[in-house]
């Protein structure tokens, strides 16, 4: 069998396993975990477009997640008496998130990489704070509750089982992967890679870098909007504290772990970290308690784990566990190639001069 055929066979097996899973494992907690992990896979796929494909470090990605969630909370709940169906919101919310992506990106995308990072960080702080402060619309710290339950052919999803959400998220991830893959192979995707490798050169080749970067921001944000709708509907509530800086860093850690620019990496990285967060740490704490170590709580080490992942991966394996070939070459070459070093320096001087 050719390599492609082998890959297809594995994908088919994986597909069957994923579709059949809720029928095999009747434990609702497991399915619930997988559905939540699915929302984070969507987030990682979206951030991968911005950070992985286009090389723009977005540290406020949770803001778009918040915008997606709050869109659903405001347009599909008793809050304002508006009840737009879940399925339509899956199209509306990404559009809203993309719009905010453009609004944020338009003035800031001409900034250098690290300035862009800090501005997005500021944006990531402002958005949840705004939802918190505008309490007459959002109920402030209490958040918005009893969001509409999605329904399909007249059957409401309900709260008793996570299985419907599991399938919705599985479907969304499949769509997300197809979109991301096609984007990467498209003209726009190659434009992003050109910008990521050398923005100056890309501009000189006639690429409209602003449009390309804006589309990366908008498309990345739209993934987050979809994830926000699904997650909010599943929880049936939103509150501002779900979207703090640590969520942005969590998604970034997922991406760094899996491999920036790699779609498989984004999925694996986010699955592994979700697993660590929701199973490994609580379970090992329970085990430690059972063994008589009552003062141990491994869940307190969560941020340490994100931090260590970011530092260790960047120092020793910047391309991630499942690297994108091109990205790996960039990380490996830049450290040794004098021509590339000179490029970096020129680019820096140019941007300082332009500033």
């Amino acid at each position: 069998m050719s390599r492609v055929a082998v890959k297809r066979a594995w994908l088919a097996v994986l597909g069957v396993v994923l579709v059949a899973y809720p029928y095999v494992d009747r434990n609702n907690a497991h399915v619930d975990f997988l559905a939540n992990a699915g929302a984070f896979i969507l987030l990682a796929l979206g951030l991968n477009i911005v950070v992985g494909f286009a090389g723009l470090l977005d540290l406020g990605y949770a803001a778009f997640f918040a915008i997606g969630s709050y869109s659903y909370a405001m347009l599909a709940s008793p809050q304002f008496g508006i009840h737009i169906p879940f399925w339509i919101m899956l199209l509306v919310a990404p559009a809203i998130a993309a719009l905010f992506g453009i609004l944020l990106g338009a003035p800031t995308l001409r900034l250098r990489g690290d300035y862009l990072a800090i501005v997005t960080l500021g944006f990531g702080e402002i958005v949840p704070q705004t939802f918190l402060n505008l309490s007459q619309y959002t109920n402030g710290p209490n958040g918005i509750i009893s969001l509409d339950q999605p329904s399909l052919f007249g059957h409401s999803f309900g709260f008793s089982s996570a299985v419907p959400y599991y399938y919705v998220l599985l479907g969304l991830i499949v769509i997300g992967v197809l979109v991301a893959r096609n984007l990467r192979e498209s003209r726009l995707g190659r434009t992003w890679m050109a910008i990521r490798e050398d923005e100056l050169a890309a501009r000189h080749m006639g690429i409209d870098t602003t449009v390309a970067k804006l589309s990366a921001f908008a498309l990345g944000a739209s993934f987050s909007g979809v994830a926000g709708v699904a997650y909010a509907a599943k929880l049936s509530l939103v509150s501002p504290d779900q979207f703090q800086f640590n969520v942005s860093v969590l998604v970034l850690s997922m991406l760094v772990l899996g491999g920036m620019g790699s779609i498989t990496g984004a999925i694996v990285g986010s699955f592994v970290l979700s697993f660590v967060n929701s199973f490994l740490l609580p379970q090992s704490t329970t085990l430690a308690h059972a063994a008589g170590l009552v003062n141990v709580d491994f869940t307190n080490y969560r941020y340490m784990i994100y931090g260590v992942i970011l530092v260790v991966m960047m120092l020793f394996r910047p391309e991630g566990l499942i690297p994108n070939r091109q990205r790996k070459a960039e990380f490996r070459e830049a450290a040794t190639d004098p021509v590339l070093l000179a490029h970096e320096q020129t680019e820096y001087e140019d941007s300082v001069g332009a500033g």
């Binding site: 470090l57 501005v119 402060n133 860093v249 340490m304 260590v308 970011l310 960047m314 970096e344």
Partner: protein
């Protein structure tokens, strides 16, 4: 008018703390073009260290006379040394290897270091705010229309002393000259026989020691701290550094005081201003970056350290 002047005094005290932190951002950025995200947490670490020293000295309330001077001096020096050492450690372990990596890499590492430090401090003193002993007696003096507290005098005075000391260090010592040279052109500096790596280490040492001063001062000023304190303060101080012109020492000081003033005024004059003050500060950051990315002093004083 008296309310306004009172907010000026408050803003300058806040600004003194921001300015001290901003100096560290601007020095490191000036020399290796890295936004040292962990710097805000080094500042919180300064508060935590000061707290540990005070506890070790058995100080839990106001002290007076020569003992006060001794306590403040010991705590301050210990905080500076600890934070300086922490900064050096971070540079050695996390940033040095990535000197020639793509720009994204050290930035991501810096966020990682920040999270590690925050988690360490959370494990140290728990997730809730912790009280900081009220070491300094706090009588207020009424000057005309405004009242100035002893703490505010301490904050502003310490900030100014440190800034003058820093200026003297950078412009009157050999290592200061080396720092300026490395900031201007690292390769040329190396060719001239400057040990660039040592110079960068000294930059981290000095910048982090100043964060240690800020950490002690903020403990005294606010009387409370928590592990996440450095995140917001760090962002504001970074905004200050950008506002003043990143890489520019005088700019960082000016920016720090300006951000303090802006925050104090927003708290007073914007409806429900205390809730919105962060939003105001970040909006300033975005506006500065869009309209004057070189900052206030960025062009008139191109030399950066």
């Amino acid at each position: 008018m008296d309310v306004f002047l009172q907010q000026v005094v408050n803003g300058l005290s806040l600004g003194g703390i921001y300015a001290l932190i901003a100096l560290g951002y601007t020095m490191v950025y000036g020399i290796i073009e890295l936004i040292n995200f962990a710097h805000g947490d080094v500042y919180t670490f300064g508060t935590f260290t000061s707290l540990a020293i005070l506890t070790g000295l058995g100080v839990s309330g106001e002290v007076h006379g020569p003992w006060l001077v001794a306590v403040v001096a010991i705590t301050l020096i210990a905080a500076m040394l600890t934070c300086g050492a922490l900064g050096v450690l971070i540079e050695l372990l996390a940033y040095r290897r990535l000197r020639n990596a793509p720009r994204l890499a050290p930035l991501i590492t810096a966020i990682g270091v920040s999270f590690i430090l925050e988690n360490v401090m959370q494990l140290w003193h728990g997730p809730s705010p912790i009280p900081f002993p009220q070491v300094v007696p706090n009588p207020s003096v009424t000057l005309g229309l405004v009242s100035v507290s002893a703490k505010q005098v301490l904050v502003i005075a310490l900030a100014l002393v440190m800034m003058v000391a820093l200026q003297l260090f950078i412009y009157n010592t050999k290592i200061g000259k080396a720092m300026r040279a490395t900031a201007q052109d690292r390769d040329a500096a190396q060719l001239m026989g400057i040990n660039v790596n040592t110079t960068i280490l000294v930059t981290f040492l000095v910048g982090s020691a100043l964060a240690g001063v800020a950490g002690f001062v903020s403990g005294v000023y606010y009387g409370t701290t928590w592990f996440f304190n450095g995140f917001e303060a760090g962002l504001k101080a970074f905004t200050a550094a950008v506002l003043g012109g990143i890489g520019n020492i005088l700019g960082a000081m000016l920016g720090g005081f300006l951000i303090g003033l802006i925050e104090a005024m927003a708290t007073q004059y914007v409806p429900q201003g205390a809730q919105w003050s962060n939003v105001v500060v970040f909006s300033v950051l975005v506006l500065v970056l869009i309209f004057r990315p070189s900052g206030l002093l960025g062009e008139s004083l191109p030399e950066k350290v």
